[in-house]
Symmetry: C2
Subunit: 342 residues, 2 copies
């Protein structure tokens, strides 16, 4: 880790590319003048969004001639896009010229390319994606979120260990409570992978709480970390977005019903704004790819500059806490615990 | 179908048993004097909640000496509880003494017992649970919700056909739009079962829209029916409950912040009540078990009399529309369509 943290940004990635990434980088450096950012991508495109005045010294451009499409097959991106902004940003991390990479691009391509370029930590089979979610009592972390469709019990076990290490570091909780997402707390329920992971987790020194259900994610009473496979994690996340959108739309409709309700909307505005702030997805933007030999953060593809800057901040925190080394040590410790007692 | 619809109620089932089921039955019959209800369970317990005055002629008691516990293993319930209120209520349907059964009891036991007593329709392997959910534009139906943990492509296909028949009858939509829950609309994503079901569904005359994501459940723009396996369906449902609870709790906290926000809460009360009504789970209570030779409706275990009465109403509607025969015909038609084009 260099003294000044340097983060490489995939400037072309995401739904809005340079129009979000470049302003986010400038805003971020205003708040964090001691860090360095490298914008990776088409020089011309990037310069369009740079101020005409002097560009700060700690912001540089690194050229890359290609872009990975949002719907491109990961295997295609890996084979044919060797000079993509995503790939080059990861290469900079590999080469030690950057401490971390942030991308809002194609998740599957980012997973595959990061894995190829940076390699996995020992004893970790696959990278997992983790993010924090707002909850009634604080916040809850969930992984995996989209990367791994068919997960074995061992994969779920590794996710639990990696999540536990990250949350210890980021939230400063010594032994974060880990739960396994299932369809009921009774031991009889669940599919084979979940039951297998339950057996593995019971034999570690993790603070394992057993099975949790979908509503526990947003209550944060039982757990700090919810572990599930990437298919279910992604569906839980998208379903949550759907519910929040529906409630927002319903509130809007109810408040615009007549002149009296419109008036009450004006009066309730500070409250509604407070609510909006609490569940603002931009404040939670930035999902970490765990299990790699390096720090990679995925920003939501559709976020704005505020959300993107938050993802940069997540990456900086992960670098400062040397998360990859922590995970490597944690996985090795918990694996040997588990072997000793199994 | 008798002229007067008769519904057998598992009076002992659910978190609150007779204290909810009996008042719900009385309230329901006030609104629907032309129907008949049979309260199945412990006579003494039931009578405690009956009015001292005359009990209506169309409400009767049918004794059953046992109860199925909420956490009892389905196989245990099936073997050892042959005189349970749940089993006897289903026996009444089998014997033609009732047209439908409603239970708020143990879901797994209800599935297993209903399957054993009533048997499956031809070409349907497993019962599925379906319910309507509130959405921005109307409502969306989702199945399966908890019964089937490991589903094959064929199971998902059967769920789609059964859901389509039910929604046609209940909502009067000639060709309801069916979507398959996945983690992205691109054809490359998803697990093997989902991909297989996608292939099967493409070769039917169902109004199949392809893959949908979690947020589509609550938007009801792309689809009327969302098909998924019981594990994911249950998690999506519970996660949704969690988000709604969190937003409710946040709103409460924001509104009670100070005297001004408390005042604005008073002013916004009609709006908040309107919102509450729209997403009130009691108004959506009553999930149908599809695929059986008979009508069985599962009420939420924790609902109150208002919610339970809604589940009785769902059962009455299913009986009136002869849903089992419709599903039998539908499955057979779509299977032969699919075989012809495959």
């Amino acid at each position: 880790v260099t003294e000044k943290i340097t983060i490489a940004l995939d400037a072309m990635g995401g739904d809005h590319g340079v129009s979000v990434v470049v302003p986010a980088a400038i805003a971020y450096l205003k708040e964090h003048p001691n860090q360095r950012l490298i914008l990776v991508g088409g020089e011309e495109a990037i310069r369009q969004y740079l101020p005409d005045s002097k560009v700060p010294d700690n912001l540089s451009i690194h050229a890359a001639s290609q872009e990975v499409g949002m719907n491109e097959l990961p295997s295609q991106a890996l084979r044919k896009k060797k000079d993509s902004s995503m790939r080059v940003a990861l290469d900079l991390v590999k080469a030690g010229m950057a401490d971390a990479c942030v991308s809002a691009g194609n998740t599957g391509a980012l997973m595959a390319t990061a894995r190829f370029v940076l390699k996995m930590l020992p004893n970790v089979d696959r990278p997992a994606i983790i993010t924090a979610l707002p909850a009634v009592n604080g916040r809850t972390w969930m992984l995996d979120l989209g990367a791994n469709v068919d997960c074995s019990a061992e994969h779920l076990f590794q996710f639990a260990v990696m999540g536990s290490e990250l949350v210890t570091v980021i939230d400063g909780i010594a032994a974060p409570k880990v739960g396994l997402l299932n369809i009921g707390q009774e031991e009889i329920k669940g599919n084979e992978q979940v039951k297998g992971a339950h057996e593995l987790l019971r034999h570690t020194s993790l603070n394992y709480m057993g099975y949790v259900e979908g509503d526990d994610i947003y209550l944060n009473e039982e757990v700090d970390i919810v572990v599930t496979d990437g298919f279910i994690g992604n569906i839980a996340l998208k379903t949550s977005e759907g519910v929040a959108k529906m409630i927002r739309s319903n509130l809007k409709e109810e408040f615009s019903r007549n002149i009296l309700t419109k008036l009450s909307a004006l009066i309730a505005l500070p409250v509604l704004k407070g609510l909006g702030r609490r569940i603002d997805p931009r404040r939670y933007n930035g999902a970490s790819l765990l299990g790699l030999r390096g720090v990679v953060v995925k920003s939501h593809g559709g976020t704005d500059a505020l959300g993107y800057a938050h993802a940069i901040d997540i990456a900086a925190k992960a670098v400062r806490s040397d998360i990859a080394a922590r995970i490597e040590a944690g996985v090795s410790k918990h694996l040997s615990d588990q072997r000793a007692t199994a």
